[in-house]
């Protein structure tokens, strides 16, 4: 990343300020708690999955702009989608952050999530971007607490 402005683009700043699907769900079928003990980022994710479809998803917690925007955009991208599609997004998002998937040249379904590609050049922030996705993966796998350490 040559300039922090490349990462902190308007979409990320806007989702940080007004996160979508932020809050609690009274009832849910899946949930997980994600923690980044190094920096204290903390996310609780709840989902309603019916007939293999993510009918509803909400997150709560606190974290930096990267983790909050990543959480917000994640919920927007998996809501209403089949669980199998959500899992593909989890895999592709992680591959993008690891640097094994280049959204400019490799086939992918990440769409606007490719905004986070710059995080791969900031090793100290990788965990911030990945935390919601690791939490989603755990929720879908039935693991209730996940740590990025």
């Amino acid at each position: 990343m040559s300039d922090p402005r490349e990462l902190y683009q308007q979409v990320i700043l806007e989702h940080n300020k007004k996160p979508r699907n932020f809050g609690d769900l009274d009832t849910c079928t899946h949930q997980a708690h994600g923690l980044n003990p190094l920096c204290g980022d903390d996310i609780t994710l709840k989902l309603v999955v019916e007939d293999g479809i993510v009918q509803d998803i909400r997150f709560q917690g606190h974290g930096c702009a990267i983790s909050k925007a990543s959480s917000s955009l994640m919920t927007v991208n998996v809501k209403g989608k089949p669980v199998a599609d959500a899992q593909v997004l989890v895999d592709q998002f992680r591959a993008m952050i690891r640097g094994t998937l280049d959204t400019a040249t490799d086939a992918n379904v990440l769409g606007r999530l490719s905004l986070f590609q710059g995080v791969k050049d900031l090793p100290s922030r990788v965990k911030c971007a990945v935390l919601p996705w690791a939490t989603l993966h755990s929720a879908l796998e039935g693991v209730e607490t996940v740590s990025t350490e």
């Binding site: 402005r5 902190y8 300020k17 204290g40 980022d41 974290g63 930096c64 100290s124 922030r125 911030c128």
Partner: protein, 410 residues
């Protein structure tokens, strides 16, 4: 009171290649001495010289080389003794750092004194290193942790102290200087009150020795602990000072070579202080390095360092306070040069990343003090810590970096 001479900071900075060598193409503005201070070249050179020409094991064998390595190692202990004005080098125990020193006390003195129903008194602003070892002990013993509260400025409420010191309190462990807020706690007064109730006190000096002259006898501390690396020494070395009669009555902690008088299958007897607590080969080069770091800061003058850092703290506080949307966390009347702050609408990790891009090194996070963060109602802060090599230009760069964060996040 000695007179204060201004530090020749430009000269001092030449001793720190980190400050004079571009890193990833940019000069480094190091405002993170509270996490670990930079090590000046004379200290590095002293350790390299030891390792290259003088090294072998200590307290072993009859070779001249071994005797001289032992002498250098013990000279470093004497430097620490004089630095904190301990009565004797027998009361200066090498540890890996502050954390290990506190664990040592908790697991020896603590296990001797703390039993079911007893109380351990801590303060609201402790580092995890001065919380977790006591929690482990309390859990093992069925004891309770109690906490001296603080006000919103980050000052301990001493009015509450007498009520918290009960006939079940077995030890009070308190930090000298808060690693998050810079608060200088009135430990001498705290110790006086604890002793009036017969309670021994451990002082965590990790953040005080880099900023203030410390006299353990004047403080009347029962235990005083600190790390080498916050004092411009290497990592892997720290110090436990203890009152003689307490150390003598404490059982050994780790067992092994060096700390024994004789070993048979039936019974082992132990040597006296300080070796009783120093099992195994110690961190020899690191101890000698810490001795060299003490020489270095003493040559600059502890009072001169304190005056320089205080002047910079006042300047930094004024400049930061003038930034709209910035709130300084910790406004104690007595403060060391540690400045935590939060910015409206911008998380500390984002601030840390943006500052990092301009080569400004700060700490962003919970600072290993999660109970304090909870008390403050914050998940994290950004912390700038100023050292004797810091300058007004460093503070100006920090201010410019903060304004840039606000511009990006506007």
């Amino acid at each position: 009171m000695s007179t204060v001479t201004p530090l020749d900071v430009a000269r001092v900075r030449e001793d720190f290649p980190t400050l004079t060598t571009p890193f990833h193409g940019k000069p480094v503005i190091y405002l993170d001495s509270a996490v670990s201070n930079l090590v000046p070249t004379p200290v590095v050179a002293r350790m390299a010289h030891y390792q290259s020409y003088e090294h072998t094991n200590v307290h072993r064998g009859v070779s001249t080389l071994s005797q001289e390595a032992t002498d250098r190692f013990e000279e470093a202990r004497e430097k620490v003794r004089a630095f904190i004005n301990a009565p004797s080098t027998r009361q200066v125990i090498w540890t890996r750092g502050t954390t290990e020193a506190i664990n040592l006390v908790a697991q020896t003195f603590g296990r001797q004194k703390v039993h079911a129903g007893d109380e351990i008194l801590l303060s609201a602003m402790e580092h995890h290193a001065n919380i977790v070892p006591w929690q482990l002990l309390a859990e093992e013993r069925g004891a309770t942790i109690k906490v001296i509260p603080m006000n919103d400025d980050g000052e301990l409420l001493l009015d509450e102290l007498d009520g918290l010191l009960t006939d079940r309190t077995r030890i009070l462990a308190v930090t000298h200087v808060s690693n998050v807020m810079g608060t200088i706690n009135p430990v001498k007064e705290i110790i006086r009150r604890a002793h009036a109730k017969g309670v021994p006190v451990l002082v965590d000096g990790a953040q005080s020795v880099p900023h203030l002259p410390v006299d353990v006898q004047d403080l009347d501390a029962d235990f005083f602990v600190f790390s080498g690396h916050k004092l411009s020494g290497p990592t892997g070395i720290g110090v436990l000072y203890g009152r003689l009669e307490l150390l003598e009555a404490m059982p050994p902690w780790q067992g092994g070579g060096s700390m024994i008088l004789s070993v048979t299958w039936e019974k082992t007897t132990f040597i006296g202080l300080p070796g009783k607590f120093e099992a195994g080969t110690p961190a020899i080069a690191q101890a000698i390095g810490l001795g060299a770091a003490i020489d270095y800061v003493q040559a600059l003058g502890l009072d001169n360092i304190a005056a320089h850092e205080h002047e910079l703290l006042v300047y930094a506080t004024e400049r930061l306070r003038a930034i709209p949307g910035l709130r300084i966390i910790g406004n104690a009347k007595a403060k060391a040069s540690v400045l935590s702050f939060v910015l409206d609408g911008i998380h500390p990790h984002d601030i840390g990343s943006i500052l990092d891009h301009d080569g400004i090194v700060v700490r962003a996070g919970h600072h290993c003090a999660q109970p304090l963060m909870k008390r403050l109602g914050l998940p994290a802060t950004t912390r700038a810590s100023l050292s004797y090599f810091s300058t007004r230009a460093d503070v100006d760069a920090l201010v410019a970096g903060i304004l840039k964060c606000q511009e990006i996040f506007q």
